[in-house]
Symmetry: C2
Subunit: 436 residues, 2 copies
């Protein structure tokens, strides 16, 4: 038996590209759910998505080679949904509902490809990476764009490490995650999922993390937002909707302040017509949770739960619980999906705080799939995650705005931000450090 | 490119035996050094070596399958020194000396094979494993016998773990060793080597440990006692002599108490005639260090150093330093080789204690190559090392005795132990827990 597999060795040495994105299913499930609604109701709205690096001290154009970035983006554009992926999407039961994706939507997906991108270097050492086109075409770029930049950055650090240093790096990272899992295992009735695709260290590492969670937590690990990993591991794909829906629909309101104020509810009305049951989770903070709740229609209290996304978990949750009570609803029957900047400490604290008072489910992101702090035997700043987002910035010729409960997360044109603040009010918004 | 290498997969599934001992060089260097002396001066002395499990609560006959044990022992008997191994032994420079092994000895080695063994189960759940024959034939069994039993025991535990649990086990063990290495890296002028062959978790793991030490400590890691690993990693093979030399020569003294008292010095006289320079390290404790020093000839003060092997490192070292001073020798020019039951704490303490007063070199054993405490995600008592030794028990028809500085390590026939105690005295011997 030869100790070297010559064919494999030759193949490994002749890779033109080690693809970061291997499948169009390597995305977050909420993108597909939103896409079906967008495709059905808003497919031709012209939009622009832009990659924004909030960690401005990290100069991406210096850390990542432009040719490599283009090669990875180009490779992602060659991908198509495969037959078995479409069959799985069509035949699988998501959140207990069969045939959540309709045949006409799947037929459209079967010919889908990621549209063109625009890439340029900026004077401040960043990349300007934008995607323009119809909303249904462009929206799926969000996750592959983030995955590619994050993984290229990590690969830059890894390329400087020796074989042995790499071994120690991953041994430590595995040990560290397993210690977190052992702590989580102690939490009674825990419900937790992987939300870490967009900030992951790399695809293969996220795969390891998902397997570790499954092996260590059993049923407490309810699934992953990554559709490809959910399929490969025969797990639930989890997720509902994101900020881009109210943001674009708000932009579509034009100069009409009343239509603007009504936009977040109109989106949820659309959502309810498309989906039901466990998919009815409210994301309340696009323009501030307090404003949202003040004007929220009573039928929203019938929905399954809320996902406060930019307020601290305990404060954010309490505000929503108060609102449920004001609507005569017992929070014990409702769900809070907590997913912003979590790690084991915050999960433990929130779990203990809400225990017996409301159901909770944790969407664990960056600190699940990209926690390499103190793992490398040498300095590797590129292994620290950055706050990178890919947001819709233009829709129907207008700038798109997000206010959020955290002023540091606000995005958009200054004049429009001012107008939105006037329409939605200032209550409950605070500036806090953005935890990646 | 197929993702499964079919040929490899089929081969992996059809292994009749995964050999534990892969080469006759997979032994401690001191065995080869002693063997040359034995072969030249005492080759035909009939001896018996016996495997003794001092950790009597561990029932080896229950943990290890007899057929597997026989298969591994039989496999070790099929091994021969290969041409390239003999060329390396003959051509390499050990401790700065060329051609340490003479051509006639190497010629004899080229036809060598491990002799037959006797294996039986005992009523107390152990194996009785003995090797009888001429001293030159039998002595090399010591290390393969220990390696085989230790690794079979570990394999029993590993076979109960799932793929994921194995991944965590080794990630934790690697992380743990690397943390030890990072502590050791801080010690100025450290000199340390791997002495862990006999108690190792397994051959491949010892290989990893040696590479880790080399990568992490650089020149402070001066080599390994394992000859095969030294050759494969192009490092120094380290080691000098062991207790079997004074033990057998003491037995050869017969009933003559004066010849018995003189035996340890006679051995060193023989050693000096065979080797010189850096190989002149005294192992003083076969029958008690204090007795040894009391009668030790002055020429021993010219030797390079001492290896106190069963006294606590600091006390043991101080006694030897006092002796050097009594001989008008400055300890700063001398070497203490510390190798009994070390871990990072004891190494740090001894390094600080002796700093600037005497040169030290650490031979790190079990806690380098077999520290899996708290590494497995489930209970695996078989991964805890045991105090297993393979000692000469009979020589020239007489029982062989070792007293040591630790009464718990004394071995031999009770009546003979009493006689040896009378001849060598009781001074300085204590009973301490045996650290494996």
């Amino acid at each position: 038996m030869p100790s070297v597999d010559l064919a494999k060795r030759a193949y490994d040495h002749s890779w033109r590209l080690d693809p970061i994105v291997r499948s169009l299913l390597d995305t977050d499930f909420y993108k597909l759910l939103m896409l079906q609604l967008i495709w059905r109701r808003f497919r031709d709205v012209p939009v622009t998505f832009s990659v924004i690096n909030r960690s401005t001290s990290v100069k991406l154009a210096a850390e990542i080679d432009e040719a490599e970035l283009r090669a990875q983006l180009d490779h992602a554009r060659t991908l198509r949904f495969t037959n078995r992926e479409l069959i799985w999407l069509g035949g699988n039961t998501f959140y207990g509902v069969k045939q959540i994706f309709t045949p006409d939507f799947l037929a459209w997906l079967s010919t889908y490809q990621l549209p063109e991108y625009e890439l340029a270097r900026t004077e401040d050492g960043q990349y300007r990476l934008t995607f323009s086109g119809s909303w249904a075409d462009v929206t799926l770029w969000e996750i592959p764009a983030l995955s590619i930049i994050n993984e290229l950055r990590a690969r830059g650090a890894l390329a400087r490490l020796g074989r042995f240093e790499l071994d120690i790096l991953y041994s430590r990272a595995k040990t560290k995650l397993w210690e977190k899992i052992e702590r989580l295992r102690k939490l009674e009735n825990l419900s937790i999922s992987d939300f870490g695709t967009r900030r992951r260290h790399g695809f293969l590492w996220q795969g390891w993390c998902v397997e570790a969670m499954k092996a260590g937590l059993g049923d407490a690990f309810i699934g992953t937002s990554n559709v490809l990993l959910a399929m490969n591991n025969d797990m639930e794909a989890v997720g509902t909707n994101g900020h881009e829906l109210p943001m674009v629909v708000a932009a579509l309101a034009g100069d009409d302040d009343n239509a603007l104020r009504d936009a977040p509810y109109r989106v949820l009305e659309e959502w309810r017509q498309t989906y039901h049951g466990n998919l009815l989770v409210v994301l309340p903070d696009a323009f501030g949770t307090e404003a949202f709740l003040a004007d929220a229609p009573s039928w929203l209290a019938e929905w399954k739960g809320f996902r406060p996304d930019s307020a601290p978990p305990i404060e954010g949750g309490e505000i929503i619980m108060d609102w449920w009570k004001s609507k005569g609803v017992d929070p014990k029957d409702k769900l809070l999906v907590l997913a912003d900047g979590l790690d084991v400490d915050t999960i433990e604290t929130a779990h203990a705080h809400f225990k017996g008072r409301v159901r909770t489910s944790f969407g664990w992101g960056t600190n699940l799939t990209n926690d390499f702090r103190d793992c490398a035997p040498v300095e590797t700043p590129e292994l620290s995650p950055i706050s990178l987002v890919c947001k819709v910035t233009q829709a129907a010729g207008r700038p798109v705005v997000k206010l959020s409960d955290n002023r540091a997360k606000a995005t958009g044109d200054a004049a429009e931000i001012e107008r939105y603040q006037r329409v939605f009010g200032e209550a409950g918004r605070d500036r806090r450090e953005v935890r990646v």
